[in-house]
Structure formats: structure tokens, C-alpha cells
């Protein structure tokens, strides 16, 4: 693993990724069952085009941007905090709990009562999980306790979700639950954006505040503390930021795997492996990855409502493997 280690010039990298995200965002607005030029709808265009743009394409593109960014960012923060490249946003049990909330809303028929009962219920699930996590971990600064509590919470929420599936009254309800859990950005509205947006923004803000601490943590917890880092504060920022951001993302899009794992991993060598610099880069990378995957979903099988979470995993897993094998070859 030698050579080219210093990575690209950081501002250049950020600018390049930002341009990539902007391009994909534009395509996300333009591509669908009909091609619409987003710029033309600003100044005129047909009423139908403007409606499609405002009601369907724009919320979808915005959610792709926000959800992808928060997944990439949270993955980078957790990998830095735990100093483990296998950490990912689902680790703390937040996604599983949000899913459980959503599944309960579907099962209980709340979805029929109010259109936004599902994301709200998922959000409540995510927030309850962070309260539970904090209660389990307490004030201990021990990182291992945090991981174990997250694993326990994930298992519990997973088991309860399975129980709901098990008890579901009819196959249609079970199907709806399974489809929701696969993760998708289809048929979301600006209300979803308004619902998740503030939480994702606040979550991202909290996560970005860990940058310095993550840099110092490269030298281990003890040296980080001797460099003036408050470990309890750092952990709280990472947990709360992930709970708010990823919880809200899961609430509106379902559980989308692999983005938070693969994106930080992929981009780390480009920032000279610096965990603080990885944060903005991972947020941009996550947004680009999810926007691209959502475009693929629309292009490959337009008629079949292919689920986004399925595509991210199908692209993500082999790519990840190829990457790891490549790294190993270079090391040898």
C-alpha cells in the first residue's frame, strides 16, 4: 500500500466531487419516463412538465442528495470514531429501529389513516433507539460498550420486525413491509423532504463537528485526550448526529445499505487517509453514489419499480470486493 499516498489536492477533490454531484442532480431531474430539460421548466415549458418537475423529480433528487450525503458522512464518522473500516451507519441500531417504527405503522394500519404516519413513526423509532442507546451506554466513554449496545439494539429491533412480519394479517401487508424495507426514493413528495430535511441538516452539522476529534483519534484514545479532545462529547455528537440524520433518512427512504460502508472506504486514500478530511468528501461521495444508483433504477427496469436498496447492494458488494482484492494485490 505504498505510493501516491498523499492523495489529490484536497480543494480540487472537493470541487470535483461537488461538480459530479451537481451533474448527477441535474440528470436526476431530467431522466425518467419522459426526458425533461430542467432549465426549460424554470423559464417556461409545459404545465405537465413543470408539475412532474416540482412534484416528482425534484423531491426525489433532493432526497437522493440528502440521504446519500448523510449515509456517507455518518459512515465516515463512525469508521473514524471506532477506528474500524467496517463500521457503517446501521451499526448503532438506528436504521433497524427506524425500520421497526415504519413496519409498525404499516402493520397497525396507521398508514391508511394518515399519509405521513409512516415516516413519522420511523422517526419516533429512531429517536427512541438513541434514548435507549444512551441509557445502555450511560456516561461510559468506552467505545466497545457503544458497539455492543448497538449490536444488541439492532438484533432486538430486527427480531421485533420479524415478529411483526410473522404476525402480519395477510400476504399483502407482509409484501408491503418487505418492499418498504428494501429502500426506495420512488413516489416521495416535498412533504417527505420537509420532514427529513431539518433532521438530516442538524444531524450533518453535529457529525461535522467531530472532525478534529477524529483526526486526533488516529493516535488512539489516550493521546487524543492528551491533545485536548473530550471523548464523551465526541461520542455523543456521533451518536446523536447519526440518530437524527440516518434515522430521518431511513424514515423517508427505507434502509439503504452499503453507501455508508463503501463510500468512506473508497475515498479514504484520496485524502491521505485523514479521518477529518474524509467527512466532507464522504458526504459528497455518498450523495453522488445514491443519485447515480437512483438513476440506474430508473433506466434499467423502468417498469418494474426496482428498489434502490437492492441496486446499491448489487453494485456495492462486488465493487467493494474488487476494491479489496486490488488493495491486497498492491500490498503484496
Amino acid at each position: 500500500m505504498t505510493g501516491g499516498r498523499r492523495g489529490l489536492r484536497f480543494p480540487l477533490l472537493v470541487a470535483g466531487l461537488a461538480a459530479l454531484v451537481a451533474g448527477l442532480f441535474f440528470l436526476s431531474l431530467a431522466v425518467g419516463q419522459v426526458w425533461i430539460d430542467p432549465v426549460s421548466t424554470l423559464t417556461g415549458g409545459s404545465a405537465a412538465d413543470r408539475l412532474i418537475m416540482a412534484e416528482i423529480r425534484l423531491p426525489r433528487a433532493l432526497l437522493g442528495l440528502m440521504v446519500g450525503a448523510i449515509l456517507g458522512l455518518s459512515g465516515a464518522v463512525l469508521q473514524g470514531l471506532l477506528r474500524n473500516p467496517l463500521a457503517e451507519p446501521g451499526l448503532l441500531g438506528v436504521s433497524a429501529s427506524a425500520s421497526l417504527g415504519a413496519v409498525l405503522a404499516i402493520h397497525g394500519g396507521l398508514v391508511a389513516v394518515h399519509a405521513y404516519a409512516l415516516p413519522l413513526s420511523a422517526l419516533v423509532g429512531a429517536l427512541l433507539s438513541v434514548v435507549l442507546l444512551q441509557a445502555l451506554v450511560g456516561r461510559s466513554a468506552e467505545i466497545l460498550t457503544l458497539i455492543l449496545a448497538g449490536v444488541a439494539l439492532t438484533s432486538l429491533a430486527g427480531a421485533l420486525t420479524s415478529l411483526v412480519l410473522n404476525l402480519s394479517p395477510n400476504p399483502f401487508a407482509a409484501m408491503e413491509i418487505v418492499f418498504w424495507m428494501l429502500g426506495s426514493l420512488t413516489d416521495r413528495s416535498m412533504v417527505h423532504v420537509g420532514l427529513a430535511g431539518p433532521f438530516i441538516l442538524v444531524g450533518a452539522g453535529l457529525l461535522f463537528m467531530t472532525g478534529r476529534a477524529l483526526e486526533a483519534l488516529s493516535l488512539g484514545q489516550e493521546v487524543a485526550r492528551s491533545l485536548g479532545i473530550r471523548m464523551g462529547r465526541t461520542r455523543a455528537l456521533a451518536v446523536l448526529g447519526t440518530a437524527l440524520g440516518v434515522g430521518a433518512a431511513t424514515a423517508v427512504s427505507g434502509a439503504i445499505g452499503f453507501v455508508g460502508l463503501i463510500v468512506p472506504h473508497l475515498l479514504r486514500p484520496l485524502v491521505g487517509h485523514r479521518p477529518g478530511r474524509l467527512l466532507p468528501v464522504s458526504a459528497l461521495g455518498g450523495a453522488a453514489f445514491l443519485l447515480a444508483a437512483d438513476l440506474l433504477v430508473r433506466v434499467i427496469l423502468p417498469g418494474r419499480d426496482l428498489k434502490l436498496g437492492v441496486v446499491t447492494a448489487i453494485i456495492g458488494a462486488p465493487f467493494f470486493l474488487w476494491l479489496l482484492l486490488g488493495l491486497k494485490r498492491r500490498a503484496a
Partner: protein
């Protein structure tokens, strides 16, 4: 009172004392060597002074209680280097050393010209500037140690506390390290360093603190602390005093005659787990 003053520092782990009421004062800058057998409590004492462990008693720097300082203020006053040499990501050496400047930087400010200069000076002082851009994980153990010492230097603190910085270095770099510590002390700073190499400790330190079974058992100039009798009692070894360049030094010669009894007495405390401090020639 100026300088470093430690008063009855006590660390409890479970129902056992791992540091038992250690007091010493260093009113003027000194190179202080902390010596003692495995499990004597050296690392624990250093961590307690650095504010990394809950401890009773006080450690005061220039009249200011180190434990009561804000973490950021303490990071500018005191640097700590643990025995474990670990960098979690394959960072470039310059980036590793630059981490030391975090306490001197604003929240979102990048490195200043001063930061860059201090890092360059630290890299040069440990003669690792030649591979500043190389990844930490590609270096040898001794080179890694020198990069981490450079990290501590770049922090530019008033007190340096280093746990076993000399272990794993070749003799030339060990001597260069001790000479550099002497220069730092001459510049008006205090250095507290734990050492297993008794010759190195006796040759270079102004003062030695000898710990045994959680207690400070001797404190003074090397020739006062390293008496044959005390070395036999604490370490279970026989030492030969030498005069090198007009100064005092000792060389461990072999196990003390009654060493077997001594070692068995010391052994239980090793469970305390101070890691692999394995540099002492305790030949069977």
C-alpha cells in the same frame, strides 16, 4: 510554587493501589527518569499526572492544578506519549506529527505558518524529515517511534511525559534522544521519562525516581538512587557503577545473589499489566 509538583498521587484499581501516595517536586527544569521493575506503577503514575486517569492527590504545574485545567489548556502545557506506538490509519508521517498542533489551532482553522515550522523542526530533530511524506505503516519500529516522539515535540509543551520512548531505538538514536531531552531541559522545560535501560537512565538523567510495588522508594541523583543494595532489593540484580566522561553510570552485571527470592516476591504485581516492558536483561 513553580515547576512540576506532585503531591500524594494515588491511583486505585479495584481494591488495590497501583500508585500509592507518590510525591515529588521539580521546581526547576530537569530531565527526570522514572525507573522500576515491571508493574511498579510507572505508566500509571505518568497517566495520572497527565490527567488521563482518575487519581487522588494533585499534580500542579506552575501553581496550576493540571487536573483542573481545561483539556485544551492542559494540551498546551503538557504532552504525553504512551508506550503503545499506534497510528490507526496509514497517515503520512508529516500528518501524524501535525496532529500535535491541534491544541494550537482554531476549531476550523488549518495549520498556520508557525504550525508548519514547528512540525518541520520536530521532524528534523528526530531525523525523520527524510520520510515525512511516507506512510507511517511502511516504517520500521524504531522509525515509527521517532515519528511519534517528533509528534510529542511538535506539541511544544512545557512538560513532556514519555513512557518508554527509548525502547526499540538503536543505540545511536537512543543517545540522540537523551541528548535532545537534555537540550529541551536546557531550554527551560521539564521532561519526565520512564526508562528500562538503567545505563541510559543513570548516564543522562539529572534525577531518578525509583518505583517499586506502587510506591516511590527512592528519589535523587542517579548515584544516590542506584546503590548496589537498592538495585538488588528492587530489581534483584547486581549493578556495576562506572565513571563515563566524568559522569556516573551503571551497568547491570547479573542477577543479585538472592535474586530468586526477590523475583518471586515481585512477580504477583506484574499481573497489573503494564504491557510488554521487556527490555531488562533479567537473564535466567
Amino acid at each position: 510554587m513553580s515547576g512540576l509538583v506532585c503531591d500524594r498521587i494515588t491511583v486505585r484499581r479495584g481494591d488495590r493501589l497501583t500508585v500509592d501516595s507518590v510525591s515529588f517536586a521539580a521546581p526547576r527544569p530537569q530531565l527526570i527518569g522514572l525507573i522500576g521493575p515491571n508493574g511498579a506503577g510507572k505508566s500509571t503514575l505518568m497517566r495520572a499526572i497527565a490527567g488521563l486517569l482518575p487519581a487522588s492527590g494533585t499534580a500542579v504545574w506552575n501553581g496550576e492544578d493540571l487536573a483542573a485545567m481545561s483539556p485544551a489548556r492542559r494540551a498546551r502545557a503538557l504532552a504525553f506519549m504512551p508506550q503503545e506506538r499506534m497510528v490507526h490509519w496509514p497517515l503520512a508521517c508529516r500528518d501524524v506529527v501535525m496532529l500535535a498542533r491541534l491544541p494550537h489551532q482554531g476549531r476550523f482553522a488549518g495549520p498556520s505558518a508557525v504550525d508548519r515550522r514547528k512540525v518541520a523542526e520536530a521532524l528534523a530533530a528526530m531525523s525523520v524529515d527524510g520520510f515525512a511524506e511516507r506512510a507511517f505503516d511502511t516504517l520500521s519500529g524504531g522509525e515509527q517511534a521517532r515519528v511519534l516522539i517528533a509528534r510529542m515535540l511538535a506539541q511544544d509543551p512545557e512538560v513532556l511525559i514519555a513512557d518508554e520512548p527509548a525502547s526499540g531505538l538503536d543505540p545511536a538514536h537512543q543517545i540522540a534522544l537523551m541528548q535532545m531531552f537534555r537540550d529541551i531541559v536546557a531550554g527551560g522545560r521539564s521532561v519526565l521519562v520512564s526508562l528500562h535501560d538503567l545505563t541510559l537512565a543513570s548516564r543522562w538523567c539529572d534525577r531518578l525516581l525509583l518505583m517499586d510495588r506502587a510506591r516511590l522508594v527512592a528519589d535523587g541523583a542517579p548515584e544516590e538512587v542506584m546503590t548496589a543494595d537498592r538495585m538488588a532489593r528492587v530489581y534483584g540484580i547486581a549493578v556495576r557503577p562506572l565513571t563515563i566522561g566524568g559522569g556516573f553510570a551503571v551497568v547491570p552485571e547479573g542477577l543479585a545473589p538472592s535474586a530468586s527470592a526477590q523475583t518471586s516476591e515481585v512477580t504477583p504485581i506484574e499481573e497489573e499489566g503494564e504491557g510488554n516492558e521487556c527490555c531488562l536483561p533479567r537473564i535466567a
